[in-house]
Structure formats: structure tokens, C-alpha cells
């Protein structure tokens, strides 16, 4: 079973929620697909059992032994990635138009290392192990979508019959799409702010595009009760289940700064709410 947690808007609490859910679900493997800002593994210091280079795209490379400086490549590059005969790597999209027009065959497309993928194993608590698949992108590179797919693939290699919980990225673009596809359950974490609600609607549309009916979690719900009501009303009218409402709880920040999942603080209001939400999610999964 693959469960993905997404949000549309950043900062609504995806990582907090997905870390908590994976503690409650107990034996699961985590895939941190927020490849621009992977944070989950910070809570679980362990050893890397796998580390690989990842090539997310290609880059043009000029062989200056063959290059005659005619400038045809620069003329045809639609991304302004060649200036004065030099390839500007963060602008190059690896399309190969330059290689095609080069009279001297002086340009080649080579695989570009854009990230490193890791699988970390941590032993903690009483005989528990946590396996987390993540990626660290080289800053300034592209290829988020394929990288997310690779992070999920690496998580699958270690499932041994267990389920996977995916921490998704913010936004609605290719990285989010790659996190969503093929999942059995999707939880959208939103917050009761106007910004949050607008972003929620957009990420909802992406889910519909993929034929996924998500469950909704309203995080920090008590910061604006009328906004929360509006979200609930919208969900009721459109047949989306609000799986949980988590109150704003300062314990959450405390937990993050102690690098512990919120479930470590069993008595906290946030943890109690998330436990209830997990029961609702489980009910929906079993339907």
C-alpha cells in the first residue's frame, strides 16, 4: 500500500504529519519525495545502506579541440545557454539542438549528475528500524520528476511486504505528479488560511487529473475557525472526507527542534488528533 502526503502550499505540515503517520502505522518504509528540501531523515539519524549518483538529464559539452568558434550553437540555443562559446550549465536543458547544428561534431550531450539518492536505516526505540529513501539534489538542477520516481523505486526495493508512506513536495508541477501517481491513498494537508485554501483547490485539481480521491487533513485548524468551517463545507459539498483536524500546538515546533516525530509527545493535543485521524484513514483504506 502506498500512501502519499501532499499539500499544494508549502509549510502546512506534510513532514510532521507523514512522520507521525509512519510511526503510527509502525512497519512502513518512508520515501521523502520533497527532493528540493528533504527533511524527514533529520529525525532519524542512521546509516546509509545505499547511496547512488542520479542523472536527471543531459548537458551539452563542447570539445574545444574540434570547436572552430563559428557560433552556430549559440544562434540555435533557445535557452540562452551558450554565451561566447561556453555552455552555461544551469541554463542548459539538454535538448541537443546545438549538437545537431555543429558542423564539426564538437558538441556532445552527456549525462549530468543532478542528485544523490540515499537509503538510510535507523535502529531506534525498542527494536524498531526505520528505512528512509531520499534524495539530495545538486542545487540548481532540474529533473525533479524523474528523481521522485527514483526515490520511490529505491523505497520499493526495501519494502519486504510493508507499506510505503511518501512525503510529497509543495506545488502542483511535475515533482508532485510523480509523487502522486500510482498511490493507493492520498492525504492533502491544508491550513485554514486563504492562501492555503486556494492552493488546496489547485492541488485537488491535480489529484482529479490522476483519478485520485484524496482525504483531507486540516492542520492548525483552530487558528481560524471560520476558515476551517469553510474548508469543511467545501469538502462536504464535494464529497471529500476530512480525515482529521489537528490543532495548532507548540509541541510540534518543540518536536521538530528535538528532531523527534510528534508521536513522541503522546499527550500533546496534536498527537491525539493525529492518532484519531489515523484511525479514520485506516477505516477508509480498508473499505
Amino acid at each position: 500500500m502506498e500512501l502519499v502526503v501532499i499539500s499544494g502550499k508549502g509549510g502546512t505540515g506534510k513532514t510532521t504529519i507523514s512522520a507521525a503517520l509512519s510511526e503510527l502505522a509502525e512497519d512502513v518504509v518512508n520515501a521523502d519525495c520533497d527532493v528540493d528540501a528533504p527533511n524527514l531523515y533529520l529525525m532519524y539519524k542512521g546509516e546509509n545502506i545505499e547511496q547512488e549518483n542520479f542523472c536527471g538529464g543531459k548537458k551539452a559539452v563542447i570539445d574545444y579541440n574540434l570547436c572552430i568558434g563559428c557560433g552556430m550553437c549559440e544562434k540555435h540555443c533557445k535557452f540562452d545557454a551558450i554565451k561566447h562559446n561556453k555552455v552555461i550549465d544551469y541554463k542548459c536543458e539538454g535538448c541537443g539542438a546545438c549538437a545537431v547544428v555543429c558542423y564539426k561534431n564538437a558538441i556532445k550531450l552527456i549525462d549530468e549528475k543532478t542528485a544523490e539518492t540515499y537509503v538510510t536505516k535507523t535502529n531506534y526505540g525498542d527494536n524498531k528500524t526505520k528505512v528512509i529513501s531520499r534524495a539530495e539534489m545538486e542545487v540548481g538542477t532540474e529533473g525533479s520528476g524523474k528523481l521522485v520516481t527514483e526515490v520511490r523505486k529505491n523505497a520499493k526495493k526495501h519494502i519486504e511486504g510493508r507499506s510505503i508512506i511518501i512525503d510529497g513536495s509543495p506545488g502542483i508541477g511535475c515533482a508532485v505528479m510523480a509523487s502522486l501517481t500510482g498511490c493507493d491513498v492520498c492525504v492533502i494537508v491544508t491550513e485554514p488560511t486563504i492562501s492555503g485554501f486556494e492552493d488546496f483547490l489547485r492541488v485537488l485539481a491535480v489529484c482529479e487529473h490522476f483519478g485520485i480521491k484524496p482525504l483531507v487533513c486540516i492542520n492548525k485548524f483552530d487558528l481560524n475557525l471560520s476558515m476551517t468551517e469553510e474548508i469543511e463545507k467545501f469538502c462536504n459539498e464535494n464529497n471529500f472526507i476530512v480525515a482529521g483536524k489537528v490543532p495548532f500546538d507548540e509541541t510540534v515546533m518543540k518536536a521538530i527542534n528535538n528532531l523527534k516525530p510528534i508521536t513522541y509527545y503522546k499527550e500533546s493535543p496534536a498527537c491525539t488528533a493525529i492518532i484519531n485521524m489515523w484511525l479514520t484513514i485506516k477505516k477508509e483504506i480498508n473499505k
Binding site: 529533473g143 520528476g145 524523474k146 520516481t149 501517481t181 500510482g182 493507493d184
Partner: protein, 122 residues
């Protein structure tokens, strides 16, 4: 007739890979001559458009029938356009899937599944 099966491994005894676009290998069977070969799926290494790259490879191999789990919208479009028939199998051995096909026991795939959902339960 040339039949392709999406597979997890290189041997005839390896199991059918339910994904099409990102399967590991294609097994190409020539039912007339009995020839068999396994090729790496080009879609597996594609950054984007895995289904398209995989379909393109299938077209180039002159395949007439594809046996897989299910097929996404892009691949479906290409294979249909090229008059290549698609059949659905469960995860049995590749060679057994071909025999099921020969015995008309496999269901034809008549519509595209959701995009990127090769491993979905539905």
C-alpha cells in the same frame, strides 16, 4: 507473429512486469520461428515520456501483440495507432503468459489505464 511481453527479468521463466512504460525488459517472441530475445526497455531510463519511449521501441521491433499489466494513455495511443494489440496478464511467468495468449485466455486491453499507474491495484 511477433509478441512482446513486459518482464521483470531477462529469462522466459521470469515474471510478467505489470508496468508497461517503466518495465525492466521486453521479451520478444517470434511465434513462427521460435526465436526469443530480451531487450532492456528504453522507457525505463527516460526522464519523461517513458510510455512513449517504450512504445517507440515496440514499434521498431515490429511487434504485433503486447502482453503486459496495463497501458497508460500515451502508450495506448501509440500502440493503437500502430495497430498493435494489447493483452492483459497477471504476474505469471513470461512464457506462460504467451501460452495463455495462444490459448485465447487473455483479456484484450481496450482502453488506457490512468497515467503512471502501472502498479495500481485497479
Amino acid at each position: 507473429m511477433i509478441v512482446a511481453v513486459s518482464a521483470l527479468g531477462k529469462e522466459k521463466e521470469d515474471v510478467v512486469d505489470l508496468r508497461f512504460g517503466r518495465c525492466n525488459f521486453f521479451h520478444i517472441y517470434n511465434l513462427e520461428t521460435g526465436e526469443f530475445k530480451a531487450v532492456e526497455n528504453k522507457g525505463n531510463t527516460a526522464n519523461e515520456g517513458a510510455g512513449i519511449a517504450a512504445s517507440s521501441q515496440i514499434v521498431d521491433e515490429n511487434v504485433e501483440v503486447v502482453i503486459t499489466g496495463k497501458v497508460g494513455p500515451n502508450a495506448y495511443k501509440i500502440l493503437k495507432e500502430s495497430s498493435i494489440k494489447m493483452y492483459s496478464s497477471v504476474p505469471i511467468k513470461s512464457i506462460d503468459a504467451v501460452n495463455e495468449f495462444k490459448d485465447s485466455k487473455l483479456n484484450e486491453i481496450v482502453s488506457a489505464g490512468a497515467a503512471h499507474s502501472g502498479l495500481n491495484k485497479q
